[in-house]
Amino acid sequence: MSHSVESELREPLVLGEKTLHQITEDACAPLERKPNTLWWAAFFVALTCLGVGFAATAYQIATGIGTWGLNKTVGWAFDITNFVFWVGIGHAGTLISAVLFLFRQKWRTSINRSAEAMTIFAVICAAIFPLIHMGRPWLAFWTAPYPNFRGPLWVNFRSPLLWDVFAISTYFTISAVFWYIGLVPDLAAARDRAKSKIRKTIYSILSLGWNGSARVWSRYETAYMLFAGLATPLVVSVHTIVSMDFATSVIPGWHTTIFPPYFVIGAIFSGFAMVMTLLIIMRKVVNFEEYITLNHLENMAKVILVTGSIVGLAYGTEFFVAWYSGSPYEGFTFINRATGPFAWAYWIMVSCNVITPQLMWFKKLRRNVVVLFILSIFVNIGMWFERFVIVVTSLHRDYLPSSWAYYTPTLIEALTFLGTFGLFFTCFLLFCRALPMLAQGEIKGVMKTGKRKHHDSGHGHVEPRKAARVEQEKEVAHV
């Protein structure tokens, strides 16, 4: 038989010479044990933030968005910044699950499930902001093109804001479906191990009667490939469309053709940073260090380095084009970004996004968990400021100096942002407890347990692995 033989020289994807059964055990362990104090502490903090955010949201919806720090000049600020920030965070999940799948990057298998979960929660957080920004969120359904009694008055399909509605809702739906399809075999594994009746029932319903049939696996693999193929252009389209919210306007600093690729790369950059932040904590807390190895972190660091450098290039290009175009408005906007009242934000952005990721050229630093963690936080901050700089600094110096203004967020805005972090982490912590965090079905597939021994020894016989559950097997019932 012709198999792909893994090189002995290549570092294994999963450390510790795991058997298939051990992988199942390890992947299901967080679901089956009681949460530890650290989990409860984190959950409590997340829930508190969520509660605060909920109160702030309720207040501003009841009072109106006059509770924000916006003024006549700066009409978009914190809310849109947060929206773009969260959508961007989501992109890494799809990139890991779809793009790396198409490129046959086997290391994705250890991290794809949690990255996809992160995508879904981040998109939920993102969607909250435009909803609030509508002012009357209970009329949000008006963005759907349904036959109505107002004419029928249809939505304007030429508006990038409406494209956003379609892009974000499609992105959420497809990501959720992709995630769920990936989960089904693992839910089945959790179901077959479940001891209590309630767990068994819930996992049974969710796993749809999966029984590991190879005929189903064959279709499943095809469908998975199709989803990866659909999600890849989708993820590019989503942030392209988000960037068009700005790029199709005529505001200097927004009206640039570089925006779509610049936003997409920035999204991947920030998303990988968030994945890294989460996984560095998770692998420690849930004891997944043998699955999410230094190799995985190093690979992610390389992606951060590449995307960070591209983002740096984009900053440079923007400046160059502002000068080269000869447009005084463009030129002023960019000089003002670097030296004006929001220069502090600009330089935080540059130092976090362009300078610190360059440290990743050094292998020693790429394999240092503490450095990576600090770096990932820096990138998260830097990318938030990137969006802030783009949104606010392009607006605050209007064409008439008399309308020049400064923008300061109010407490309500800050608390809403905090609330979305609460929502994000609450969802993520619950996910850690309720669903298999490791895509064990995929990890087992890239393990090639018997293969190595099989191929380098000529006699072709492999000692059967020590069956840990001989007793159980003896009780196989004849149907």
Binding site: N156, V177, D192, A214, Y220
Partner: protein, 228 residues
Amino acid sequence: MSRLACRLRILGMWLFNRRALNELRWKFGLQPLHTWNESPFKGELVDKWLGSVGGKSRLLVGVFTDEDHLLEATEAVRKAGFDIHDVYTPYAVHGMDDAMGLRRSRLTWVCFFAGLFAGAFGAFMQYYTNAIDWPINVGGKNPWELQAYVPVIFEMTVLIAGLTTMVALFARSKLFPGKKAQLIVPGITDDKFAIALNHGSANFDAERARALFARFHAERVLDLGGLS
């Protein structure tokens, strides 16, 4: 196979092929029917039938613990002319489609045509609403300029193609919430691999199948379903 489908099939046999029905009953250790007034809806046979795995009467199952052995054994039993009911694995085993001789899934076509339809629908929806039913004058531009409508056409394509593919996958594989999983052996979602052969095929030779399984280091061989 659902209970209703079993009943209908038995009804069909009862009406038109009494001999096959009696053979089936015999296989399950039930008395052959002699009189016309025995109802085919009694469910006795239905229960037995459904109780056997996958609605098939009997299966000879080889259980393996290694992917390579499983692949080789699958290839060998197929070449030996056995009727493979199914192979069960805890993960998608690379090369299993070829070993089992499965044809390529047609889900790609479902996805393609769903996408095609969705794209056309997306274009039509926008054309009708924004250019026909209520054209809005935006800066004096034509109501229908394709470029502005591309993003939504694309999103509609991806959304509907994706959802259709999901529905098609679950429908074709008969996976649905509330379905009771029929595991061929315990541990099939963990670390066990199994090949199930149909007893029913004409040239089935249990001894030969057992020998083949043993040659490829089957951990155990089970005879499932029916009464032996």
